[in-house]
């Protein structure tokens, strides 16, 4: 194929005609040239063409096609408004993932994309649809278990995933120890996950990038959406501030487990002071300042709050934790070939624990605060290049561990509270390059830098020597790291329905998470690379074969990957929580390596009454920590087999049925391999790290969703004619059953010791704790 060098830019936006929301992944085709592009997440498209007249076609499933004719002599910007064929819920076809054609044609490898609207009919957990739980049903993505924080991508840790909500990082994406994600389905529109190595415009993590897009308010009409479930309720309101020019969206969710349980707990019970809830609050404003400028303001606040105060006891415990995020973003079009996206953000995560026991008051906390900005340019020099370049900067302030203890107002010595200041900066450039019609290359380079600066106290503890402290003043440079991060991926179209893709990426991660627990927990400690611990680094090589069948109704892929990880951290054997007091957390850490490799199979039916997917992953993930043990040991999220089946059947306009089945090899954990008696106590002697494997995990969930009729019949008074009138209030009810066959899946195992050592009643048993039996739920959703 030949490209004209005197090309002209044709650009614009595609919007939903009813809501005026931007539409991503609408296909904009130039019929004469047999070329097409997709709109991005802001609804924007750009294509460079030779001068001439062209017929344009805009298509997207569930929308009426638009055809238009353009004459290109100079650069042209034109917006298109797509009209929905019919309300989504009333469609004959339900699409799971609306990116038709992307499976084969996209040059990105290991990318998963989900629209929130596509998952609302899938089985809900206690009435809550959760986009991260759906992502965990895709190949290469998993949770450690029910009740574990975050998600795990291709054998990497939960800290190695960069989770962005409207381009601002969320450090802890879970509520209630991982049972729910922080992303309220009413407040977001879509999610994409790059598990095969991220493009050069993103970095700072070595496993994956998850981008969540917050919903924008309707520019024309007001809407109220909500839902009432068994344990939580949600409400979302959006609409124009100034019609056609600016809009708002606010959304809130709160659980009421504490309120529901209260009548069932006796006042004198030891559980009477038990309480837990979480809430989320999302808000977004968007302003069309001009044809060339858009401004977005997003914010999120989410908190979990656990408290315990026992009747008849002097003990009170309070544990709040959560995220706060605010982001301001401005898009500007310099010219038809040059765009800018600039944003500034604040994000923070903290967890605190306070306990009062008699005259003692204990307060502990850990957290991280980020303040930063990002400037990202897009430049289209010719028809076959799309160049992005820019700069990322983040100031991180860590509080790895703060402890205060006082007794009758006398402060005990818990050491100086540590605040660690770091600056993370990166420059990047990337090009999406169509070398030929069949061969596309994404090539990029990222140069990242990390400054660890004072004030800081380094505790030096050596055997047989008194402790000493090296103090650094504010602004002193303690350690500087930097590195080049090449990223490359390519797609070669074999024919219209199949392609081969491959990718290679190198990433640096200047943050670590240190976990004292066997499961991920909100109290896990974030801390920076320092003069003691180097940044994590990782590289990943991926290759895959992608094939569509029956005009894209079925999609399939096979991907093979290998991932190497360096400078991972674990607490040293024998470390205890109190070791962090009067010391630096990183003094307790040991450094190691990791490797993971696997093969992923994916088969998906994209459209029709019957949709869904099956994914299977065969994988292995090891850790090598010579200071912990001489031989490699499995990562705690090592999962040999992982099978997921998600099915959805649209019986009629009124009913949709869904099922979800998961089978996975049991997770690993460290169990006592022996025990002994010391002073009539039973002492456990733990075996190899993560050497015990729990029983396999499997579960079936079912759901049925009922929709009311979209219209009601009315008779005209004038002529008696019966007409259909759209209902203002729309209802749907989701009935779900979680764990249909009541499988007792393992949450963790422990060695139970019961009875007196000197009696015949003494017994030692391996016990399995399971969290959720069969759990039915019902959620009423409404919209008007």
């Amino acid at each position: 194929m030949a490209f004209s060098q005197d090309s002209i830019l044709f650009s614009g936006y595609v919007y939903d005609k009813n809501t005026n929301e931007s539409i991503d992944f609408a296909q904009v085709s130039i019929l004469e040239l047999n070329q097409f592009v997709y709109t991005n997440e802001k609804g924007a498209f750009k294509i460079t063409l030779p001068t001439g007249e062209y017929h344009i076609r805009i298509v997207l499933a569930n929308y009426e096609e638009i055809k238009s004719k353009i004459k290109l002599e100079t650069s042209l910007s034109k917006d298109f408004y797509l009209k929905k064929t019919i309300d989504f819920e009333q469609l004959e076809e339900v699409r799971i993932s609306a990116k038709k054609g992307q499976n084969v044609t996209s040059s990105k490898i290991g990318v998963l994309e989900l629209d929130v609207k596509d998952i609302k009919t899938l089985p809900a957990f206690m009435g809550e649809v959760d986009i991260i739980k759906v992502a965990q049903s895709l190949p290469g993505v998993s949770s450690v278990s029910e009740g574990s924080q975050g998600f795990y991508v291709r054998g990497g840790g939960p800290d190695q995933n960069l989770v962005l909500l409207d381009d601002a990082q969320i450090y802890n994406a879970s509520h209630l120890f991982g049972f729910f994600s922080v992303f309220n389905a009413d407040a977001i529109t879509s999610m994409d996950l790059m598990k095969g190595g991220m493009t050069a415009d993103y970095g700072g993590r070595i496993s994956s990038l998850m981008r969540i897009k917050m919903r924008e308010g309707d520019l024309q009409k007001y809407h109220i959406n909500g839902g009432i479930g068994l344990i939580s309720s949600r409400l979302e309101v959006d609409g124009p501030i100034q019609k056609g020019k600016s809009s708002f969206m606010i959304s809130a969710r709160r659980t009421y487990i504490d309120v529901l349980l209260k009548p069932f707990i006796k006042k004198k019970s030891s559980l009477s002071g038990l309480g837990y809830y979480f809430f989320d609050f999302n808000a977004k404003l968007n302003f069309r300042l001009s044809d060339k400028d858009n401004l977005y303001i997003s914010s999120y606040i989410g908190k979990d709050r656990f408290k315990y105060g026992s009747a008849g006891s002097d003990m009170d415990i309070l544990m709040p934790w959560g995220n706060t995020m605010a982001n301001i973003r401005w898009n500007h079009l310099f010219s038809s070939k040059h765009f800018m996206d600039i944003s500034t953000f604040y994000t923070g995560y903290d967890i605190n624990f306070t306990a009062g026991i008699d005259s003692y008051k204990v307060a502990m906390g850990t957290g991280i605060k980020d303040l930063g900005g990002r400037i990202n340019f897009t430049f289209l020099p010719s028809i076959h290049h799309r160049i992005r370049y820019g700069l990322d900067y983040t100031f991180h302030q860590f509080t790895p561990a703060s402890v205060n203890i006082d007794q009758d107002n006398v402060q005990l010595d818990t050491g100086k509270q540590q605040r660690l200041d770091t600056h993370e900066t990166a420059f990047f450039i990337a090009d999406d390059w169509d070398i030929t019609e069949k061969w596309r290359l994404n090539i990029g380079l990222r140069y990242s830098m990390f400054h660890f600066v004072g004030p800081f106290d380094r505790y030096i503890k050596e055997p047989l020597k008194p402790d000493s402290i090296v103090s650094y003043s504010k602004g002193d440079l303690i350690k500087f790291y930097h590195g080049l991060e090449p990223r490359i991926s390519t797609r070669i179209l074999l024919n219209k329905t199949s392609s081969i893709k491959a990718g290679f990426s190198v990433n640096y991660q200047y943050l670590h998470i240190a976990s004292l627990t066997s499961v991920s927990f909100p109290s896990d400690i974030w801390l920076p690379a320092s003069e003691k611990i180097k940044p994590q680094s990782g590289w990943q090589a991926t290759i895959g074969y992608f094939k569509d069948f029956f005009d894209g109704k079925y999609e399939s892929s096979i991907e093979v990957y290998y991932k190497g990880m360096n400078n991972l951290v674990e607490f040293a054997n024998g470390s205890m929580p109190t070791d962090n007091v009067n010391d630096n957390v990183d003094n307790q850490l040991v450094i190691g390596k990791g490797r993971s490799y696997g093969i992923e199979f994916f088969f998906k039916k994209v459209s029709g009454k019957f949709t869904g997917w099956v994914g299977y992953t065969l994988a292995k993930s090891d850790r090598i920590f010579p200071d912990i043990q001489d031989t490699p040991f499995p990562a705690k999220y090592d999962r040999r087999h992982d099978l997921n089946l998600v099915l959805s059947y649209k019986l009629s306009d009124r009913w949709t049925f869904s099922a979800n089945f998961v089978y996975a090899t049991g997770n690993t954990l460290t169990m006592p391999s022996s025990w002994y008696i010391f002073n009539q106590d039973v002492i456990m002697e733990y075996g190899g790290r993560n050497s015990t494997r729990m029983p396999d995990y499997h579960r079936l969930d079912l759901s049925a969703t009922w929709f009311d009729k979209p219209y009601k019949k009315k008779t005209k008074i004038v002529d008696g004619e019966e007409i259909k009138v759209m209902r203002k209030l729309r209802n749907s009810v989701n009935f779900s059953i979680y764990n249909v066959y009541n499988r007792a899946n393992p949450y963790f195992l422990y060695l139970s010791v019961k009875g007196d050592l000197t009696s015949d009643k003494f017994a030692m048993t391996v016990k399995q704790v399971s969290l959720f039996p069969i759990l039915p739920s019902v959620t009423w959703n409404f919209e008007f």
């Binding site: 391999s673 002994y676 002073n679 002492i683 494997r693 050592l757 391996v766």
Partner: protein, 304 residues
Amino acid sequence: MFTTSCTKAVKVKIPGYEEKIVIEGSIETDGFPFVLISKNKDVYAPTSQAEMLGSYLSGAKVWVSDGTTTIQLTEICTNNLPAGMDTTIASFLGLPVELLHQITICGYVGLDGNFKGEVGKTYSLKVEFEGETYEAASTILNPISISNSYWKEEEKYPDYGYTYHVLQDPAVERNAYLFEVKRLNVDSTGEAKDKRYFKPYVAYFDDEFFNGISFEFFMDNSATYEDETIDKKFRGLFHRGDTLDLKFSNYEHSNFRFLNAILQQKLSGGSPFSLPTNAVGNISNGGLGIWLALSPSYSIMVCE
């Protein structure tokens, strides 16, 4: 949420069992050295009373040296104890004296009247067993006393309460402590309430948070936790009028990690929310357990 959880017994493969010797030995000021030897057990090993009490091994050769004098400890068994040793052994083992009379446990004791623990001396232990040699050393430090003790009645439970103690911690690096208590007053049978020292739930602690300052702590009455003659709500509390023999020992901080690890294991109960922590003692050649030199000081208090 956790109200929906359930627990069941399972049998999973737990690799990594490796037979190791366990040495549990101590010496304290003005006391004889005493050593018990056993082996660790597989998690699926039988746990009958006979198995448990038969865990202690005979046939070892054990020596203790103070740097100038070395003695070989004598293997004695509970069915053949020298007069007056039963309470000492029962206290060490944490067993009722009555039970000790019914069973046979073998240990190693230094019975040389001229070889008793002295402040400032370092005691080295050497054990030969099944062709292997295990060694350890520990020093008896200067004693540190509790400066004040009192009892306080709990508002909700008249005549019952915890004991409170004030410690002036020396401003030297890292001190570690062991608190034990024995009730001396007689019960309804005319016997002393406690025939040995009992350790409260958190008996071992160090001065991580109060180095060099005055620190007040409270202690519970662990002797009553299994006493079915006492109403459950009063268990763990001392009764008004109890006369208490307090034994407060200090020891090398390097040995605290072992004892603290045991406490952490007890507190966590094997939950996944804690790091698997092995208790690493001072026994060489891969042996488990600890050789501990204690420096006790004693005081008497009355709960009133």
